[in-house]
Symmetry: C2
Subunit: 439 residues, 2 copies
Amino acid sequence: MSAASRAKRRDKDLDVQVFEMGDFVSYGACGIPYFIAGRVKQLDDLVVITAEEFESKRGIKVHKRHRVEKISPNDRRLMVRRLIDDHTFEVSYDHLLIATGASPLVPPHLDTELPGVFTLRGLAEAARLKEFVVNRSPREAVIVGAGYIGLEMAECLTDAGLKVTMVEMAQKPMFLMEDEIASLIVNELAGNGVKLMLGVGAQSIQRADGKGLVVQLSSGDSLKTDLVIIGIGVKPNSELAKDAGIELGVKGAIKVNRKQLTSATNILAAGDCAECYHRILGRNTYIPLALAANRQGRVAGDIVAGLNSEFPGVLGTAISKVFDLTIARSGLSMAEATDAGIEAEKAVVSSNSLPHYYPGGARITSVVLIDKKDGRLIGVQMAGKHGVGQRINTWATALTAGMSLDEIAGMDLAYAPPYSPVWDPVLVAAEVANKRRKA
Amino acid sequence: MSAASRAKRRDKDLDVQVFEMGDFVSYGACGIPYFIAGRVKQLDDLVVITAEEFESKRGIKVHKRHRVEKISPNDRRLMVRRLIDDHTFEVSYDHLLIATGASPLVPPHLDTELPGVFTLRGLAEAARLKEFVVNRSPREAVIVGAGYIGLEMAECLTDAGLKVTMVEMAQKPMFLMEDEIASLIVNELAGNGVKLMLGVGAQSIQRADGKGLVVQLSSGDSLKTDLVIIGIGVKPNSELAKDAGIELGVKGAIKVNRKQLTSATNILAAGDCAECYHRILGRNTYIPLALAANRQGRVAGDIVAGLNSEFPGVLGTAISKVFDLTIARSGLSMAEATDAGIEAEKAVVSSNSLPHYYPGGARITSVVLIDKKDGRLIGVQMAGKHGVGQRINTWATALTAGMSLDEIAGMDLAYAPPYSPVWDPVLVAAEVANKRRKA
């Protein structure tokens, strides 16, 4: 919808049509956990613009409950199925944008059709889960996967009164966070009554005798529960593109250049179905996050409207709330650096979010990763119960500009006791990392 | 003390001696308003390191209650007066750092010796004011000056139960903030019961008949009150340097280069008594703020210890809390730009601190100033009741790096509903300012 809006704004004479399989367009999917928790009151609150408003206000025709079943790049045609009556028809295009998003990864041996088993993707699924939580009054939940979605759901289901157990195959939650940050997450979950089982996979989900479900674990144990959420990641919806002969790239995402153009003439792709350019790696990767998806959509809209535009790239910047703990990152993790052939070293720095004398402050743990070869800053992770929120963006800005640790440590950042110590945690972390490097 | 500590750390054989007129060294002066409000419990909480700890832990000799009365640069000697018994003696030095700070500006016609009249500088004055508030139970206060200190005191005295009236000569509070920000301050004060009188000066302060004080205003009115705070700014304590023939610079501050060296051989100056280099102006200015003072001290310590070091400069970054409103800035204001011969234009952008559906967000007003000539970003101001805190540092970082608005608008900043909308207010402001410029 970002692309549609942008293209139409750039060229009001364009005939822009959107085919959407479901009922909703343009909604804040990241708000779903908070809808389950009750912090967001109504599902409709998550909708930014309705399909009807796209038509009436922006002149964009939205075909809801229509599935595009086939793309024929050579004759620039689509085959579309109207789901309400299974009627199929063809549509021709000058430019086609594929914005099919991503789907939850589900291990094939887990039965997601069972009542009480949910993945989190889309508003319809969110409504189903909310209905289940409200009407069935589940008391316990098992969350499979301790990534962003799993952790946010752990907080939100706990908030909704459930007792939560998390099951994670890896030896830590959030596998792209360094151990020093992951251990803070472990503590935060424990402190909020969430049981976290690491190094354990879910092997099957079955109906329990009587009421509820049983999750069989790789450890041999089993968990009886009322509700299962599967949140082990997503995979790009690229089958439609693949079937049309369009080249796929990293992790099966649709290969695109920085103009969002695919390998097929006049076909673009944007959002969670597509690759995205990584500023630090200098090549495409697959990081399906909301800002990049929106921005790619705008670039695609510009290109379709004949303007020059280029996707600036991502840094892998991300932030998440886990109960009272904020975790954030920008740039590469140690594992990503190693994958990219970069020998990295890290400095772990702890500092206060506020002056020692001002109430409300907390420790901030910063992990600063630098390239051993040249001391270049390549990534930062932070966690803490206060003041992490926008601080990660200071690092993201420094990473964007390619600033050295010397330059970062010398910045004139804002100071007043209610907001920061004289030496902001960013300055302290940059200085310590810089000293360690020079030592 | 930053300089003393740094020099000693760099060269442990250095004999470092400090002469301090008062009783306190190394304290958080910016915390004083919050001590008056009771948020900081004890005055001692503001002390970072005591004189005794400097001696015992860092090997730095601190002479409290000693006033340096004369510097003789040619024979590298000081004349020092021990205030406890008025004994004077001479001290020789190899290197001398002048770190005499600044003093409150007080119009000569205002009698600051009257009981109930206070300026805010140093812990002794803070203790006097706190004692007055606790023991005399003043019910009303007049604050002369609506700059940082005046505004913080307005909040803190209101918090302490006083009815506050502010008197400001200019037509707006915080004269270096743009009108769009200043008007938010005006509203915030009114909403919290503070009476703000603009375009009015205090002409005299006298004892009232019976109890209290009377402040005579330039408007002809007078205000009866229990307590008067004068907070109209500070002036550098540069007389000692001037008397020694050391060159003064901007606003009477001691002229220094970026190694903190003054015009006199082996004499350095740092902190609120000295000029500081401004990154955007490319020349020295006078902005007496804590971070720059600390940093200049470290540079001076390095230089004295024979190392190479240079003050990186300031951007004029500042932040302040006015009740629930946060106001922040980095870079030049329109007035500063005009003074520097830069023709600037500004974009005023309003955006939400959080997604519309997530509770707790508020509007953020951003004013983005650019150089009309080349579109270069030269300054940003922000105000809002949520999410302004560290966001100003994203701008400060961009200003440090000299990033274009295009680059800023394209940054990968952090997004999750509890922290930010998909399009962070920084991205929105950069984009709108950029569009306006190109239009």
